[in-house]
């Protein structure tokens, strides 16, 4: 894990950029193989995103959860953990928000924040299950958190079916208006695109991420544990407590992301047949963003554009939307195997050097 972090703290900006280009090229090859025109498809993607005020607003809506899940993965990375469970943490955040949103009747200035906090706590606790098992039992957090993703999915469906879904329907009752975080005036500016306060919370979360890790005592400990648990133990830090803490904070980010999807976008929760996928995209976002808060925000914007624009590729060029998953997977692969990327980066760097003389 440290390797991945080191690449981004030391190497130039070029590595992630080249990884993205290689990922898009891989996608292009897949499209050619499928008999599509990749240029036409990528153009359609761009047009979709920037073609109308509504779609542009919806792209922002798409970016928001990716910032949250990206931060969730990145935060755990910094403590040496691979939080592949952002998906599940996101889902339990949704459950908590729906529960609070539907069940209570409170003034808006209490109800909405309470629902967001509920999502944060639920996500945090869900994340700490994997953290606790890692700390106390030495269980690989990757396997437990993947299992927890499925458990969360079925748990969500059960909670909805058992408590919130009127018989014969596929989605819960609407949450109370007092718990919604939609920004109505902004939505109207973007032709009713579903814009909400969650985007602002996401940016604040990124700032929180930075301050916690690089300005506080806790952050010093979390980073030390991530980089060298043996030295941290020697220095008197409680490694296990920091592992759980990192997974809790990471889970919190994802949980808020899930809550905002309910409170700001859908206002109800539907039965899910598959994982929503934000947690998985969060891995790509975190890796491309170098596990830094600014990097995560920038990478989330990019992947938000890609995933939202994928629908445009379907309409504009007939390309199945899953193509974009191939692109994202390839980007993750190239970041992991950054040695491959460096082969492409080297000539560029050398040219720069020669040009400088």
């Amino acid at each position: 894990m440290n390797k991945v972090i080191a690449v981004f703290t030391k190497e130039s900006f070029l590595v992630p950029v080249v990884a993205i280009i290689l990922g898009l090229l891989t996608g292009a090859i897949a499209m050619l193989a499928g008999g599509f025109n990749p240029i036409q498809a990528y153009m359609a993607l761009i047009e979709k995103v920037f073609g109308s005020a509504y779609n542009f607003g919806e792209t922002i809506r798409q970016i928001t959860p990716l910032i949250f899940t990206g931060l969730a993965v990145a935060f755990a990375f910094r403590t040496g953990l691979f939080n592949i469970g952002a998906e599940g943490q996101f889902i339990v955040g949704m459950i908590a928000a729906t529960t609070v949103g539907v069940s209570f009747d409170l003034p808006a200035y209490i109800h909405a924040p309470l629902a967001v906090i509920a999502g944060a706590v639920a996500g945090g606790l869900w994340g700490s299950i994997a953290g606790y098992l890692k700390a106390a039992r030495g269980v690989n957090e990757v396997i437990t958190s993947i299992m927890l993703n499925w458990v969360a999915l079925y748990l969500a469906n059960w909670v909805m079916n058992a408590f919130f879904i009127p018989t014969g329907q596929q989605r819960s009752e609407m949450i109370k208006e007092s718990s919604m975080i939609t920004i109505t005036w902004l939505s109207q500016m973007f032709d009713s695109a579903r814009l909400h306060w969650g985007t602002l919370i996401a940016v604040l979360a990124a700032i929180f991420f930075y301050v916690i890790l690089w300005k506080t005592k806790s952050g010093y400990e979390l980073r030390a544990v991530g980089l060298n648990p043996h030295a941290s133990e020697y220095a008197g830090m409680n490694v296990n407590r920091n592992v759980v803490k990192a997974m809790f904070i990471g889970g919190m980010f994802a949980g808020i992301g899930g809550a905002c999807e309910i409170l700001g976008v859908f206002h109800y929760q539907a039965i899910m047949t598959a994982q929503p996928g934000y947690g998985f995209d969060g891995i790509a976002v975190a890796l491309i963003g170098g596990n830094t808060p600014l990097g995560v925000v920038l990478a989330a914007i990019l992947f938000g554009i890609l995933t939202f624009g994928a629908a445009g590729m379907k309409f504009g060029a007939g390309v199945p939307v899953e193509l974009i998953r191939v692109v994202i997977a390839s980007v993750i692969f190239f970041v992991a195997a950054h040695g491959i990327v460096k082969i492409f980066v080297k000539p560029i760097l050398q040219k720069k050097k020669e040009g400088g003389h």
């Binding site: 894990m1 390797k3 991945v4 897949a30 499928g34 008999g35 691979f82 592949i84 098992l133 039992r137 030495g138 269980v139 690989n140 990757v142 396997i143 437990t144 993947i146 299992m147 927890l148 499925w150 458990v151 079925y154 748990l155 469906n157 059960w158 079916n161 058992a162 047949t273 598959a274 998985f280 891995i283 890796l287 199945p320 899953e322 193509l323 974009i324 998953r325 191939v326 994202i328 997977a329 390839s330 993750i332 692969f333 970041v335 992991a336 195997a337 950054h338 040695g339 491959i340």
Partner: protein, 319 residues
């Protein structure tokens, strides 16, 4: 209720559901015994399930009952090829093996549905296959009451899986290849100094791993589901990793653990058959294999039996 019949059915179903897990965890065994973490088993299974289904579909009209065999074997080949990038990243480029594996899982999930939609005119799943594996009955033995149905009536792939367990045990513990593979996973530098090509061994192991995991995936689409869709594999690759760890990286252990996890799946189908869903919400039954995996992993104390160099790239030129 005839408890004998119920247990006989349970064992029978356990073997059906364990088959894929046995193949996949054996796959994981080769890779991890050579020192390469293989969290990409899930993706390799997906590729196997997809390839097996699509090729069987392509050949079923012309070859009939032979078609699933073609699909099955070529799924193994596809799995080996699909595993290659993981070897390139992990062995040649010394990448973080977990991240590389996760990337391959996503790639498999995306690519398989993408191609399915292209081949089947936008449908998210293949059409139901008309020619899949049918169960074999061992003559005479399958007439034994209860036991016959439980053990001697199974898909040919199940019999193959048990043969693969024995074969793997022999290869890993009795042959020079196995000794060298284990040496590479325990102490690659020691292997290097006696002239064993560490990279070649690891490439070989990862590709065998991909082939076996893909056979496991193909088992699912060619026996239980008779088609391929995005949730054909749904996490069994990760359960296979858990089985490998639970089985202490030993073929027989992995098989035992795979059978154990197979029970969870078998119970799932039994509960549905017996209509117990009135008492237990279906969601909880669906959760069972995953919860069980977490509990088993949490119950294991220490991981001292993992290959010593697992997850560590080997750097020949390091000072």
């Amino acid at each position: 209720m005839d408890w004998g019949l119920i247990i006989s059915n349970l064992v029978h179903d356990t073997i059906v559901f364990s088959t894929a897990l046995i193949f996949a965890s054996l796959g994981g065994l080769y890779s991890e015994r050579s020192g390469v973490v293989n969290i990409a088993l899930e993706g390799m299974m997906i590729i196997g399930a997809f390839t097996g289904a699509v090729l069987t579909y392509a050949f079923q009209d012309s070859l009939g009952p032979l078609a699933p065999w073609i699909g099955f074997i070529l799924a193994g080949v596809a799995g080996a090829i699909f595993a290659l990038p993981h070897a390139v990243a992990s062995v040649t480029f010394k990448a973080d093996q977990t991240v590389s594996g996760v990337a391959l899982n996503f790639l498999a999930a995306g690519l398989s549905v993408y191609l399915t939609k292209i081949i089947f005119n936008g449908a998210g799943q293949t059409t139901t296959l008309s020619s899949v594996f049918t169960k074999w009955s061992i003559p005479v033995l399958h007439d034994i009451p209860y036991l016959g149905h439980a053990i001697f009536e199974a898909y040919p792939t199940s019999f193959l899986a048990f043969i693969a367990v024995f074969f793997t045990w022999y290869l890993i513990f009795k042959t020079p290849f196995g000794l060298r593979l284990r040496a590479v996973g325990e102490h690659p530098r020691a292997a290097d100094t006696v002239g064993i090509n560490v990279k070649k061994m690891r490439y070989t192991a990862v590709m065998i791993s991909g082939a076996l995991a893909a056979l496991g995936g193909a088992t699912i689409s060619l026996t239980t589901t008779s088609n391929f869709s995005h949730n054909t594999v749904s996490g069994q690759g990760f359960i296979a990793i858990a089985a490998l760890i639970f089985g202490k990286w030993h073929p027989a252990g992995a098989m035992g653990a795979a059978l154990f996890f197979g029970v969870a799946q078998a119970i799932k189908s039994l509960v549905q058959i017996f209509g117990l869903t009135k008492y237990i919400p279906t969601e909880f039954i669906f959760m069972l294999p995953y919860v069980l995996t977490i509990l088993v992993m949490a119950g294991l104390v220490g991981r001292s039996s993992a290959p010593a160099a697992l997850g560590k790239p080997y750097d020949t030129g390091s000072r």
